[in-house]
């Protein structure tokens, strides 16, 4: 982290007290594809658009929603390659936590470790902040949890959140639709409706991705067939 020539940080304060690089990173996130997450009473669902740059891209090989541990999944908005680096680091940290404490890492701990990494890159020499915001969904002994981590390294627990291009519309929609005692299936329907709101073109099982975790504590990404079923229910 930081060559000898760049032992000074590239993220420096502006006179008004802002870290401009982080603001720019948030702009990068804001121009990324929409993704959202909803915490239900018995689980969490995260979803994202999967718009590929061309019809020639093999869509089966692209998976935006990733697993960090068997009970924690993550989706991003922003720069894909940056998210890969973070997911890899987080997976390693989860393993190290297990090796040290012989306990599967709680969601809050993993979020904190990930956020720490993102913060380090705003204060190290020669590196730039990550151009992604992450939505981390998990289910552990404290129940279902949904966290959003920003390029600055700050994180919050959300009941429902959205990020990316259509964030303001999506958040308004979610504010109206969200209820505390939502079941997981309802949450999936709401997520689909929210994605549909700002979707350019026809929504289908090929251009969105949904991941969910329920009381069985196993995070899984839905197959296109399952997404079709949910879409049919929503219609």
């Amino acid at each position: 982290m930081g060559d000898s020539q760049y032992s000074f940080s590239l993220t420096t304060f502006s006179p008004s007290g802002k870290l401009v690089q982080i603001e720019h990173a948030l702009m990068a996130v804001g121009s990324g594809q929409t993704s959202l997450g909803i915490k239900a009473a018995n689980g969490v669902v995260i979803a994202t658009e999967k718009k590929l740059p061309s019809i020639l891209v093999d869509e089966a090989s692209v998976q935006k929603i990733q697993l960090m541990t068997p009970n924690i999944g993550v989706v991003y908005s922003g720069m894909g390659p940056d998210s890969r680096v973070l997911v890899r680091k987080s997976r390693k940290q989860a393993q190290q936590y297990y090796r040290l404490y012989k306990e599967t890492i709680p969601v809050t701990q993993l979020v904190r470790e990930t956020a720490t990494v993102m913060q380090e890159f705003t204060q190290s020499g020669g590196v730039r902040p990550f151009g992604v915001s992450l939505l981390i969904a998990g289910f552990d002994d404290s129940g279902p949890q949904l966290y959003q981590v920003d390029p600055s390294g700050s994180y919050f627990s959300w009941k429902a959140s959205a990020m990316g291009k259509n964030v303001s519309n999506a958040k308004t929609f979610l504010e109206k639709r969200y209820t505390e005692d939502m079941e997981l299936d309802d949450a999936v329907h709401t997520a689909l409706l929210t994605l549909k709101e700002g979707f350019e073109g026809q929504i289908s099982s090929k251009n969105i991705e949904i991941g969910l975790i329920s009381t069985d504590r196993k995070f899984r990404v839905l197959t296109p067939a399952e997404i079709e079923d949910y879409l049919a229910e929503v219609e």
């Binding site: 982290m1 032992s7 000074f8 997976r91 393993q95 190290q96 090796r99 380090e120 020499g125």
Partner: protein
């Protein structure tokens, strides 16, 4: 211009700084603390569908049994398990570490782990420590390429074998394997083929006998003989037919044979090697399913206090002195009438 101080894990390897001090201490007569070794019998064998691993459960610290029921079969991946002999801490740490690495690899590749991957990770770690990590392992598992069984030695060399034993009880266990392995565990395809060959032979012999015997005088006798033989052959072929139909049954037999053989080998180690003892753990790994049979056999039950109780006569224990202290009466005992009703 802050450079983030990232907490790097300590660099690996041994630091030999204190060796001189230790030498000086031993010269002065202070003994180095001992470490827990597992005097062990661990075995593995490949059978029809997969791999069976077995281990005893005694952990020793010199002449003392430190743990009567420890687990020597370690988890590496859902389809790969590893038995460990040598220093208990080394086997645990090294298998934990490789299990962790395999999990990360599975996340990255989104595929089931292969036995050869675990093997290479283990051997390169052990080799880099030049034998100072005293872990002798029997690694077995089933992956897309089939069932595999390997042994790993503390210096980092490996063997790939159909049946293997390690630990202080390895000779006792190997004696059992070498004498019984082939018999118990030919795969059922072989069994069927052999049976077919035998029946062919029997069939040919009978038809030859029928052809050669004279028709006229021996007519009735020959008929009787051939009818009996024919019945024999019929019953044989129906058996073969049954065998073909109940292929599953034969496979079950091979698995039970395998578990029994492993149990025998471990018991041989338990009873004939002083470093091994207590119970038998077995782990059966097949494609898609793993059965961890913890304490599959308990050949050394602990006999606790007899339920009948013990009675000791006076005089068993020598009485050195007697002192009687009367307790102060706190309550007055009032003589009651006997209870009526």
């Amino acid at each position: 211009m802050a450079k983030a101080r990232v907490d790097l894990p300590p660099k690996g390897g041994f630091s030999f700084d204190l060796c001189r001090r230790n030498e000086m201490l031993t010269k002065k007569g202070i003994q180095l603390p001992g470490f827990r070794k597992t005097g062990t019998t661990i075995v593995g064998l490949i059978f029809e569908d997969g791999v069976i691993l077995g281990a005893d459960t005694r952990a020793t610290e010199g002449p003392i049994v430190a743990d009567k029921n420890c687990e020597k079969i370690h988890y590496m991946a859902p389809n790969i398990y590893c038995c460990g002999a040598g220093t208990a801490a080394d086997t645990e740490a090294v298998t934990d570490m490789v299990s962790s690495q395999l999990q990360l690899h599975r996340y990255a590749t989104r595929r089931e782990s292969r036995v050869i991957t675990a093997l290479t990770l283990l051997k390169s770690h052990l080799f880099s420590y030049q034998g100072h990590v005293s872990a002798a392992l029997v690694l077995g598992g089933v992956d897309v390429t089939g069932p595999h069984l390997h042994t790993v030695y503390p210096h980092g060399s490996t063997d790939t074998l159909p049946f293997a034993t390690m630990g202080s009880g390895s000779l006792a266990a190997m004696a059992v394997f070498e004498s019984k392995y082939k018999e118990g565990l030919t795969n059922c395809r072989d069994k069927c083929r052999r049976l077919e060959a035998e029946l062919q032979l029997a069939g040919n012999c009978t038809s030859a006998a029928v052809r050669r015997s004279p028709v006229a005088e021996e007519g009735s006798r020959e008929m009787v003989v051939s009818r009996r033989k024919r019945r024999e052959i019929a019953s044989c072929s129906s058996r073969l037919h049954l065998l073909r139909e109940f292929g599953e049954w034969i496979r079950e037999l091979a698995r039970e044979d395998g578990i029994q053989l492993v149990g025998e080998a471990i018991c041989s180690g338990i009873f004939n090697d002083l470093g091994s003892g207590s119970n038998v753990d077995v782990c059966v790994i097949t494609k898609g399913k793993t059965d961890y049979l913890r304490n599959h056999q308990l050949p050394n039950p602990r006999t606790y206090i007899s339920s009948r109780g013990y009675s000791f006569d006076r005089g068993y224990t020598e009485v050195l002195s007697t002192k009687i202290t009367p307790l102060k009466l706190k309550a007055e005992v009032v003589e009651n009438d006997a209870m009526e009703e």
